[in-house]
Amino acid sequence: MVTGGRGVGTRSSHALVLFSHVDKHTHGEQRIKTLGTIDIVAYRDRLPRFREPVRDSDNGNLTPRDAVRKHAKRLAKRVTHHAKHLAKRVSHHASRFPGVALSFATRSATTISRGLRKLPGATARSIKRLPAAFEDGRKAITASARNFSAKTVDKIIGVVGEVLMTAGVFVLLFLGWHVWYNDVVSGIAQNNAGSELSNKWDNVPLSVPEFDRHPGDSAGARLEPEPPITASAELNARFATLIVPRFGETFERAIAEGVDPKKVLNVRSAGLGHYPQSNDLGEVGNFAVAGHRTTYGAPLGNIDQLRVGDRLYVETEAGWYVYRFRNLEYVWPREVAVIKPVPQSNAAGADRLLTLTSCHPKLSSAERVIAYSVFETFVPRDRGAPSEVAAMKAAG
């Protein structure tokens, strides 16, 4: 970074420092960089002191005065060449330090003219040629400075564009992750977590013939008219799993207490949450459960695929609570009444309900879809799993 500089100055009374600047580097080191000098005295001292006529190949014998003039012209030509070379170097550096280079260019011609006058024998023409040489350099520097400005703007626009494009790509990647990748991975993880929880409960996969004898019969066969009541677990702790054959052969998701998104609904170890204000499992009333319709494993992604009479199983350490799906309802998000003991009513009912709530439509939270199921029976663990559940576990 250029922090200061001087375009041209006299090092001594005869030598011209053509270009120098203070270049401050990242380490704080300062350096004065000189691109070149024209030492007028050095050129002047090269002039021979002619005392006698000099023999010249072009003009025969030259008088000492003409010989000095001829040498002076030759020297002026070399100085001009030197100046052009330096001007070229300056114009090259102008792309990096346009301000300093321009300062040099505007001041150099005058100074060099003054210095050149000290050169004995220098003609008016040769004096004019030097500024002209630097004028070329000055034009080149001006063009370089303009290019530099344009390039700088282009670079800034380019970097901003690349940053925006990168941000756009990351937003797309995030959406892909959120809607697809995390959904799939969370779904697999939630199924595994549900199976692991279920396996802890010493599963004995035996079918229950009298229970399975009535597929599609909404009345079912009640083996245990009064199921045990599974008391609410600690907040965010898992206490049951939901098994829905309609949702797939491997669908088994853990149910945790509470509906905190970050601790229950969005996590891979659960996915379904029991509304704490609803009834306990097995209690007369409404056992209400929430889950995502899309993303985060989408445990209730196929809630609208349920058909009347479909069985839903809630497995606990005690056994399986069997429910039959009855109907769907679409409500506004604040319809808390759907998780009352008797949905949308203040009456005290006698049924045991399983209510699933989720979003509607998919990828929107504008409405809620509610799935009501009615308790059918309870299968104690020592009787073995219902055949549907046993088949799913064997397949899984």
Partner: protein, 52 residues
């Protein structure tokens, strides 16, 4: 920006390509494992229950 990064990478072209692929995989992994979950928890809070 990317051209500057490309110039910074050492080695011949094939080595640079390998390094770019490695960097992309690392960035993607970090994004998927930490940045995206954090962003989802921070910026996306879907309301899916009926008691909101």
């Amino acid at each position: 920006m990317y051209s500057a990064l490309w110039k910074i990478l050492p080695g011949p072209r094939w080595a640079k390509i390998v390094q770019v692929v490695v960097i992309a995989v690392v960035v993607l992994s970090i994004s998927v494992e930490w940045i995206f979950p954090w962003a989802a928890d921070t910026f996306i809070q879907p309301e899916i229950t009926v008691d909101q």
